[in-house]
């Protein structure tokens, strides 16, 4: 990192927060008291006057040489394939019905985390809770009940990295993290940050990324749903595969279908600058398997990821099968589109 790029909290406030492009990854929260996350938003609680600034080194909306991350984590020199570096790509699902019932698709993430904890590969997992009257937030888990309770897609950001920062600060080791591509990038930048970035990152034992095209602004989503007459806490969200253009919200007593075109207006503005759909900086990345309800697409990127996955399969936690070629093509196309749009949005000068 070139030090002359660093300018302090002021830069984060002016270039990210005030511009409204914060994606609520939570990387800057929990490092200090000045940024706080509450109910779906990262806010500036006070102004900081400290001498060095971790926050601007790790914020995914502050420009960064991506190449240095590829080099550090994958030892490669240039931009790899459109899905990022990986060793294997496969389809899988949880072997346990109980998990598949609460999961969004195949329950692979939940199963992997459960397996990792139960076998001592990680001591803790930072996941995202369901959110009730308040937006989802990160949750430090180590029990089966907690982990299963965090299953399911959120469609909104949760600033879960806050909990990772707090866990590291309190001296916890062997932390596993499940997060969105922006969060995986921020976590990776933590490893290269000064001071003590390497030291802090050494507490992380497992990184599981989730595919993501965009995330919604929680507060605006809540207002929108209230205006549509939806009372009660949302229990599940879903976007059925094309050609249906709807967004489904389920509460205790109701199920509402809303036009995706209206929902797209509630996407976080910051998401348009994100080029990573499949969470390239992770041990394992997991997403939907289009066309096959109840299955996940799984990308194994590192040796650690491969080892965890294979052991889970051997132990009977996961079922795997080959990924159909058309799915792979579709995925590459979607990832490539996201990258193109992001680079274009940055060029149009709205990014830093």
């Amino acid at each position: 990192m070139e030090k002359e790029l660093l300018e302090g909290q002021v830069r984060l406030v002016n270039e990210v927060i005030r511009k409204g492009i914060c994606v609520r990854c939570g990387a800057c929260v929990g490092l200090c008291p000045y940024f706080q996350y509450h109910d779906g938003k990262v806010v500036v609680a006070d102004r900081c006057e400290a001498g060095t600034w971790r926050c601007i080194q790790i914020c995914p909306r502050i420009p960064y040489e991506r190449a240095s991350l590829y080099e550090h984590f994958y030892q490669i020199k240039e931009q790899p394939q459109v899905l990022g570096p990986y060793k294997r790509i496969i389809a899988a699902r949880s072997a346990e019905m109980q998990i598949r019932d609460v999961a969004q698709y195949g329950g692979v993430v939940t199963a992997l985390i459960l397996f990792a904890i139960e076998n001592g590969m990680i001591n803790w997992a930072v996941l995202t809770d369901r959110g009730e009257s308040l937006a989802p937030r990160g949750l430090l888990c180590n029990s089966r009940e907690q982990i299963i309770a965090c299953s399911g897609s959120r469609y909104t950001a949760s600033a879960a990295l806050q909990e990772v920062n707090l866990a590291i600060k309190s001296g916890k080791q062997g932390i596993g993290f499940v997060g969105l591509p922006c969060q995986m990038e921020a976590l990776s930048r933590l490893a290269l940050s000064e001071p003590e970035g390497r030291e802090r990152f050494s507490s992380i034992a497992l990184r599981v990324g989730i595919f993501c095209t965009w995330a919604l602004d929680w507060r605006r989503l809540r207002s929108y749903l209230e205006a549509k007459g939806l009372t009660g806490i949302a229990k599940k969200y879903d976007i059925p595969p094309p050609p249906s253009e709807i967004f489904v919200v389920e509460t205790q007593d109701a199920k509402m279908e809303l036009p995706l075109s209206e929902i797209r207006k509630i996407i976080q503005p910051g998401c348009k600058f994100c080029e990573d759909m499949t969470a390239e900086f992770a041990d394992i990345s997991v997403g939907t398997l289009e066309g096959e309800e109840g299955w996940n697409t799984v990308i194994l990127r590192t040796d650690k990821g491969v080892e965890l996955f294979d052991r889970a399969v051997q132990a009977g936690m996961l079922e795997e099968k080959q990924l159909p070629a058309s799915n792979l093509d579709h995925l590459k196309e979607a990832a490539s589109n996201k990258r193109k749009k992001a680079l274009q949005a940055r060029e149009e000068g709205e990014d830093g």
Binding site: L31, C32, Y34, Q36, H38, K41, E49, S133
Partner: protein
């Protein structure tokens, strides 16, 4: 046994002017006293309350000044002598009743004491309450010393009964809080027997007739003033300059004339009866010379009225040259100080004064290195916790929300001690009144959440009608009542919620929560020491509509200090503290700013000041490194 109520007549004792006013009232035989706390007036009722343990009198802290004057008037209508005291803002509050009372007239001697605060040392404004004397056509007396304060107060009741109307006495902070040796008079037998003569009602009708009668009363007072020893002249028989003034300002003028040896050239007409100004006396002295200087606090009150009089009598008086606030030769704002009078005389008579060599030397030595002393909440103050929670909740909400403020210790939240949260402070209860305005702007696109704060005493004084208004008009207001069980800023006087009266008797407390509930409002009670929980609740309430109330309840730290103190011993773990580094940036001392937390510049660590810290323990929550430790003592 209290010295004010027990000292025999003829004795000389050290008295504060406010105590002297109380003594004067006792010597006049008052049996009723009411007021509302307000600096610099509070000691008057406090002294009388103490006296009530020795003497058969009744003293109360009323819920506000208007009710206080009304109650005192009740005693007067029943033929008893009564006194009512307040600060300048209180006179604004009583003005509607006062202008009617002076029309209906009174029976038992009744005196209104206004203690003004020139310079606004402990006020939200600077105001000259003397304006209410001509407005209500009532006599006005201004003491210039604690002795005079006693003598005038005693006499004012005779005057009030002689003319059948209320009399106003006006003091200022400098006088009220000063002490001097005073010779007291004797105390009477307190033989008042209240009786309302139903043959003699107290109407203001017919208005014109009553108004004319009021003017007659004033004329009668003026006649008495012509002979009053509260007015006197000192100095040259044929002065080059005549000084006319009242109050402490006259004392400084006398001092300056003495210092500069000007008694041959200057004369001073000291006025103690300043409305109506006795015109024959005035005429006599105005004839002495052409140049007139006016010295008084705060407004050019005497100045303006004398100028008008001089204009009326121009044929006899000839051309006059007036000096004072109108000529910009004395400042028109702030408290008049000795240096300003020395400056004036120096310029006028072309004399030098002062120790310029010395002051220049000191200024050079000091070279601007003396920092100002910022006001702040005491260590352990619950308001610190309340405003920290409010600041946090408003930040989380992120819609440019703000706080509408009111009067009390918590008014200091306009400053860094309360994180600069208050964006407006006006009169008692105004915080909620203004919020009723914001609360109806949503339909015009107003989206900023507004939190209103008011103290427990303020709630009873003036916020109640505004709360009824909010309920009635369904305004979007979020009221946070800061209940520290005290009227703290003015000195811990009891109020309707504290369960005790001014005279120390137990009474049924008036419960803020019950009142709100009776209006159909949901009320949440929280603890300002639990800052995170309070912030979460406030955030939740900010997302709702309509009138909402939260009560944050925790005793004032100074009261708690007297009632057993706090449970914790605090220290900062020097190994865990990272000070200025990223991750903290001196958060506790720079942002939280409790006087018990100090920044050690050498060690570059935060440290607890064990002399100042009281051990409330709430700072332990805010350290990002968990370095602030609390242990049960």
């Amino acid at each position: 046994m209290d010295k004010v109520s027990t000292t025999e007549g003829g004795k000389r004792m050290l008295l504060q002017a406010n105590e002297a006013i109380a003594r004067g009232a006792l010597e006049a035989g008052i049996i009723f006293a009411a007021g509302y706390p307000g600096n610099p007036s509070s000691e008057i009722i406090e002294t009388l309350a103490k006296a009530s343990h020795d003497l058969p009198i009744y003293v109360e802290w009323s819920v506000n000044e208007k009710v206080a004057l009304e109650a005192a008037a009740g005693a007067s209508f029943a033929g008893c002598r009564a006194i009512c005291s307040m600060k300048q803002n209180g006179v604004n509050v009583v003005s509607d009743f006062l202008t009617n009372l002076s029309l209906s007239g009174t029976k038992g001697g009744i005196v209104l004491v206004s203690c003004d605060d020139p310079g606004g040392i402990s006020s939200t404004n600077e105001e000259d309450a003397r304006a209410f004397a001509p407005l209500s056509d009532i006599p006005l007396l201004e003491p210039s010393s604690p002795q005079e304060a006693l003598d005038m107060t005693r006499w004012a009741f005779d005057l009030s009964e002689a003319i059948g109307n209320i009399v106003m006495i006006r003091s200022v902070s400098r006088l009220s809080h000063s002490r001097s040796d005073v010779v007291v008079g004797g105390l009477p037998d307190f033989t008042a027997r209240p009786y309302f003569d139903t043959q003699v009602p107290f109407h203001t009708f017919p208005i014109i007739t009553k108004h004319q009668a009021r003017h007659e009363k004033l004329k009668a007072a003026e006649d008495l003033f012509e002979k009053s020893s509260f007015n006197y002249y000192r100095g040259a028989q044929r002065p080059e300059l005549l000084v006319i003034g009242s109050g402490c300002a006259v004392d400084y003028a006398l001092d300056a004339i003495q210092t500069m040896n000007l008694w041959e050239r200057v004369g001073v007409l000291k006025l103690g009866t300043t409305w109506p100004i006795p015109r024959r006396l005035l005429l006599k002295h105005l004839q002495k010379c052409q140049h007139i200087l006016f010295v008084e606090d705060v407004d050019p009150f005497i100045e303006t009225h004398v100028k008008a009089f001089a204009a009326e009598r121009a044929q006899e008086l000839g051309l006059k040259v007036f000096h004072g606030k109108g000529s910009d030769e004395l400042p028109s704002c702030g408290e008049l100080r000795p240096a300003q009078l020395l400056d004036f005389f120096g310029n006028y008579f072309n004399l030098s004064w002062g120790a310029e060599n010395f002051t220049n030397k000191v200024e050079t030595l000091i070279n601007g290195r003396i920092p100002p002393r910022e006001f702040g909440f005491c260590p352990g103050c619950p308001h610190r916790g309340s405003f920290y929670a409010i600041k946090t909740a408003l930040a989380w909400d992120d819609r440019d929300g703000f706080v509408s403020g009111d009067i009390g210790c918590y008014s200091m939240a306009i400053w860094p001690t309360g994180f600069n949260q208050l964006k407006s402070v006006h009169a008692m209860g105004s915080g909620l009144g203004i919020a009723c305005g914001y609360g109806k702007l949503e339909n015009f696109g107003f989206e900023q959440p507004v939190i209103t704060v008011c103290g427990d005493s303020t709630f009873y004084h003036a916020a109640l009608p505004a709360l009824v208004n909010a309920r009635f008009n369904n305004a979007d207001i979020l009221l946070v009542v800061l209940d520290n069980s005290a009227t703290a800023m003015t000195g811990f006087q009891p109020h309707p919620g504290t369960g005790k009266t001014a005279m120390g008797e137990p009474t049924q407390p008036v419960d803020v929560v019950a009142i709100c509930k009776s209006m159909g409002l949901d009320v949440y009670v929280g603890d300002p020491y639990e800052m995170k929980q309070t912030a979460e609740k406030l955030y939740e309430l900010m997302q709702q509509r309509g009138p909402r109330v939260m009560v944050l309840r925790r005793k004032c730290a100074l009261v708690q200090g007297r009632e057993g103190g706090f449970p914790y011993g605090m220290h900062v773990d020097q190994d865990l503290c990272i000070g200025e580094e990223c991750g903290c940036g001196r958060y506790c001392t720079r942002i939280f700013r409790c006087p018990g937390l100090i920044w050690d510049k050498e060690k570059k660590k935060a440290v607890i000041d064990q002399v100042i810290c009281v051990g409330c323990g709430i700072c332990a929550e805010i350290c990002p490194q968990g370095a602030i430790k609390k242990e049960l003592k």
